[in-house]
């Protein structure tokens, strides 16, 4: 349970981070909060030869209102997201991440880059249509959160790219519901409902390799359907897999119930 040896680099700026990652040639990893990376290194499931500690890169830790959205620096800790008043959905989602001692360290950029299918922030990013700013050798590019997540713990980030900030639009109404075995455990199902204009979006985490929009449920809602009808549609369109935490029917039932709760919390008729 001890990490394999690695070289440790602590750059002072984003440019130096990118250069260091490029020099590492795909064998470098960014160390931000370390709450997911260090465990997999301790279990020797990851053995990066270079660890690029970004914790002292200035200017990446703030949460600021940006028009109809909130811009979150890549190094903003979950505890800060939980405490900020400007994006209540983000605050609620952050409160479900791990425990206090995890939230004081874990970061927004790290959670998105790690892309755990059970993690809360990737679901909120897709649910709000967040824009992710990514620094690389050719400068900064922006991409939609939905383009970031390409599969189980897999993103479209290149080896020499780093998330610098995420812009989360603020929904006019929202609802969040999550089921985990114990509070702080990884979610079996997370459901996030967001309203933008006349559109109600239903986004699910934990039921597929990456956060997914429940389009069938959204169509039910667009047609004036009830929360229960939409919940049933969501449970039928997902393709969950069975593991020691639950069977397929159990996961479908949990997904339906979380969608129902999130819709009711949004203010949709049950």
């Amino acid at each position: 349970m001890k990490c394999a040896p690695f070289d440790y680099v602590r750059p002072a700026g984003v440019g130096e981070v990118v250069t260091t990652l490029r020099q590492a040639g795909g064998d470098g990893k960014i160390l931000a909060g370390g709450q997911s990376l260090v465990p997999v290194m301790a279990m020797r499931m990851a053995r990066p030869s270079v660890l690029v500690d970004v914790n002292r890169v200035p200017g990446l830790s703030s949460v600021e209102t940006d028009g109809d959205a909130v811009r979150v620096g890549a190094l903003a800790r979950h505890a800060l997201l939980q405490a900020q008043p400007d994006h209540p959905l983000l605050a609620e989602a952050a409160s479900w991440i791990g425990h206090t001692a995890i939230r004081t360290r874990g970061t927004t950029g790290g959670s998105l880059a790690h892309a755990d299918p059970s993690a809360e922030l990737p679901v909120v990013a897709v649910a709000t249509g967040a824009t992710v700013s990514v620094a690389g050798p050719d400068g900064v590019r922006e991409l939609d959160a939905a383009e970031l997540f390409t599969g189980m713990m897999t993103t479209s980030l290149a080896d020499d790219e780093m998330i610098t900030s995420v812009r989360f639009p603020r929904p006019s109404r929202w609802g969040f519901a999550e089921f985990a075995r114990r509070h702080g455990d990884f979610a079996l199902v997370t459901a996030v409902v967001t309203e933008f204009g006349d559109e109600l979006r239903v986004t699910l985490g934990g039921v597929s390799a990456a956060p997914m929009r429940a389009h069938a449920a959204e169509e039910v809602l667009a047609g004036g359907g009830s929360a229960r009808d939409a919940a049933r549609a969501a449970s039928e369109e997902i393709e969950p897999t069975a593991d020691l935490h639950g069977s397929v029917p159990f996961r479908r039932a949990m997904a339906a119930e979380m969608v129902r709760r999130a819709l009711v919390r949004t203010g949709v008729e049950e």
Binding site: P5, G34, P39, A42, M43, L51, G98, A101
Partner: protein, 157 residues
């Protein structure tokens, strides 16, 4: 690598490999064996210490990351003359431990909890302590102890 930090109010220096966790540096290099290591991958909470006042898993931080930081371990809870911290007294009085392995992490989490949630009720205590696992007590005694220490603090004699 050279790491300079403040541990329990005193300057400390260690020269460690980058892969040395903060927990191992505290235990092996500084001799502060009060910080316990259970799972070594961030699940059990036994290694919880305060880094710049905030609780952190010392097994998920490398010592090099703590360069310049202020770290408080369970050894830093008692005051200068060796008297136990009121939380420690409460753990003794309310059967908040049996084997004691999880206790250092419980105490550091509870110390931060009482600082940030004055007057915390049992539900809050349970939620905030949920990241620390105990295999002996069944948790009742731990919640009793934290609640009693909080009440004692909120009503000064």
């Amino acid at each position: 690598m050279d790491v300079h930090l403040i541990v329990n109010g005193e300057r400390a220096h260690v020269d460690v490999e980058p892969r040395r966790t903060l927990a191992d540096a505290l235990r092996e290099d500084l001799g502060l064996t009060g910080t316990h290591l259970g799972c070594e991958h961030g699940v059990c909470g036994a290694c919880t210490v305060l880094v710049d006042g905030a609780p952190a898993r010392a097994c998920l931080m490398f010592a090099v990351q703590a360069d310049g930081a202020e770290v408080t371990t369970v050894e830093g809870l008692q005051d200068g003359d060796g008297a136990l911290h009121p939380l420690q007294e409460a753990f003794v009085a309310h059967h908040g431990l049996q084997c004691g392995f999880c206790t250092p992490g419980m105490l550091m989490t509870a110390a931060h909890l009482l600082d940030t949630h004055p007057g915390a009720d049992r539900e809050t205590i349970r939620a905030e302590m949920a990241g620390n696992i105990c295999r002996c007590t069944g948790y009742q005694g731990i919640v009793d102890a934290v609640e009693a220490a909080g009440n004692a603090r909120d009503t000064p004699a």
